[in-house]
């Protein structure tokens, strides 16, 4: 009992020191003792262990505070690598990352229409090329899928597009690859990425809405993802915003996904009277063509984009009324629509929510750099894995 307690306390202290180094960048052992409240000998012993396990490295002497110059410590970015897997799109994507979330390798696999075991096989094939022997140990896997995912048990409760029901994805992957696996919903992970790697919100709460092929939101409360009783918190893509709207794959009519997803926008553009539009023609326009039309102020394209933004704004209004979280972030391919979309979302939200609450709410695009937009889910998986395995974020 005493022994177990001492071991727990040692683990706790070791995590605390690692987290402090992670959060501060470059620190001396004396800095660590000051900010953790641990004694110098305890800190030195813990740091020795972290150096030995290659999670931390000595990066050279720091500025002197009068006496001898202290040795600075930092996270050894390449002391471990991580594999993040994003199953949310028509292309399954995986990436190898270092400990600070830097992506070193990317792979992809076309997966449109794959369901059930075929989809699971595709995940195995996707990851395989990343398993080549490397100089650094693999910390584990972070995997994001659409649908209702139990992140504690690692079970995909229901992912309609992938045909998965109660799939023990963590167990399957751990059996196959022999390393720790953490599984979560894609939108929840996008929110975690924004919270962990984006501009810090003024409070510990944040909502991120991802709009691409599908639409989903992730909610961060007190710095951690909020999953809901059935792991469906933020599942706004299948809440109806237009009762007279199109039939949705879920069986209802007029879900947000039928008005404001990329697919819905292109479908609505194709259905519009395109006489005189740069989009004139018989076929459904491509996304790049549609974006180009919006940027050229083509009235048909602009109308369709604004309508999508208005419906999204209505859904945002309900989120504001439900959570009163001041910080709402949009991510995903619709970001290409820029200010036009933001303006439409904000205008509709302001018309639909208590003025004092609307004024206090900021809706903006993700603060993660443009080039990383498509990686937002990947970065969230990395953050989840770092939190669960090392306690550092």
């Amino acid at each position: 009992m005493e022994k177990a307690t001492r071991r727990q306390s040692k683990d706790h202290n070791s995590r605390l020191v690692l987290k402090t180094i992670y959060g501060n960048g470059q620190v001396s052992r004396a800095d660590l003792a000051r900010s953790t409240g641990l004694t110098r000998p305890t800190v030195s012993a813990i740091v020795a262990g972290l150096l030995e396990s290659a999670l931390v490295s000595e990066i050279g002497p720091g500025p002197s505070a009068g006496g001898k110059r202290p040795t600075l410590l930092a996270i050894n970015d390449d002391g471990r690598h991580l594999i993040a897997v994003d199953l949310s799109g028509d292309e399954f994507r995986a990436a190898r990352l270092n400990l600070s979330g830097g992506i070193t390798t990317r792979v992809g696999l076309p997966a449109a229409g794959l369901r059930g075991d075929a989809a699971l096989d595709a995940v195995y094939r996707l990851v395989e090329p990343l398993l080549t022997p490397t100089a650094t140990p693999l910390l584990g896997f972070g995997v994001a899928t659409p649908g209702l995912v139990d992140p504690q048990q690692g079970i995909v409760r229901r992912a309609v597009n992938l045909g998965w029901v109660d799939l023990p994805l963590r167990e399957r992957l751990e059996e196959r690859f022999g390393r720790p696996v953490h599984v979560a919903n894609d939108s929840h992970m996008a929110a975690l990425a924004e919270y962990t790697y984006g501009d810090p919100p003024p409070s510990a709460n944040l909502i991120a809405i991802r709009i691409g092929r599908g639409i989903g939101a992730g909610v961060i409360l007190g710095g951690r993802p909020f999953y809901g009783d059935g792991f469906g918190a933020g599942e706004i893509g299948h809440v109806v915003v237009d009762p007279a709207g199109d039939l949705c794959t879920c069986g209802n009519r007029g879900c947000l996904e039928t008005t404001s997803s990329v697919r819905a926008i292109l479908k609505n553009a194709a259905a519009a009277d395109r006489t005189g539009s740069v989009l004139a023609g018989d076929s459904v326009p491509t996304w790049p063509a549609f974006i180009q039309a919006v940027k050229a102020h083509d009235p048909v394209a602009v109308d369709v984009a604004v309508a999508a933004g208005r419906h999204l704004g209505a859904a945002v209004a309900h989120l504001v009324g439900a959570y009163n979280i001041h910080h709402i972030v949009l991510a995903g391919r619709v970001s290409d629509l820029g200010g036009l979309l933001l303006d439409a979302v904000n205008a509709e939200m302001h018309q639909r929510v208590l003025p004092a609450m609307a004024e206090a709410t900021t809706v903006r695009f993700t603060s993660l750099a443009d080039g990383r937009l498509a990686d937002i889910v990947t970065l969230g998986c990395s953050a989840l894995l770092l939190h669960r395995e090392l306690g550092v974020v």
Copy 2:
């Protein structure tokens, strides 16, 4: 420093013992030692203090576990009294309660149209009759107001109907009455009452929607009220559900309050073609007359009630998508509409949310006994005060 730590630890242990007695009803000192993990002498010393302060009393011998029969302890219901104040209606209401939430005295004061200082004066006058000297000390006040209320600082940020902006209500009342005051939003307190005194939900999460003159929801996450960044979490009464609807006091059009509050229902009944209805006539029907008409299956009344329920169901669908909390409770005067309302809410919610999530969600009326329905906010104020002052709920 050492002394402060010992005192904190003593306070903590004392709260733990009191909470254990509160939660278990009747316990012996041996039971307390077992369930708190404290030593027998520590428990005995704490219990002596609690007996002396009259928070706990000895209620007689319990069953023997072999040896001497132990003395059972219980909360001394009348060891303190509490004053709860509900400013959410046209009548301000206050009640005196004992430590287990039993209401012993009620007072009320007509307050329709009172604003600003006049409303505050009315609160003073309301409470005065409850301040007559009593045998038991006053623990403090729990006060609920509509609007955006900062429960940490005790400031009413904005209560439109009362004309209060940034009113330091806690400070004002503490100065006047010299006892601790806790202030919160009325719907948040209704949710806390349901969580504390109602049927326990299967998880620590719950949403309560109160529908009377106004409409608001309170959200319990992990057993505590969730307030949101601006104290407006659950402020669904002013989210638009019918963009073509009536102008609302908030300035927007078609808020949930304009479709489903008691006032809106009566207004819609008056505006309907009442030929052949028991509600026929020129005047706006009263609520009891309307309820009677619904119970007599009057088609006009039924149509109006179902329409109100349908709009409420749309708002509930958005709450389900946002939180995925399985346990949703309705309270307030619309409860008089019974199953007709529940059916309409459920039907609409099922049409507007992911089927798997709709099926997992239960919408029902508050489990607090019928006679206590009007007291749900009062009970919530009591629970807040007991939590903040004694740590027992």
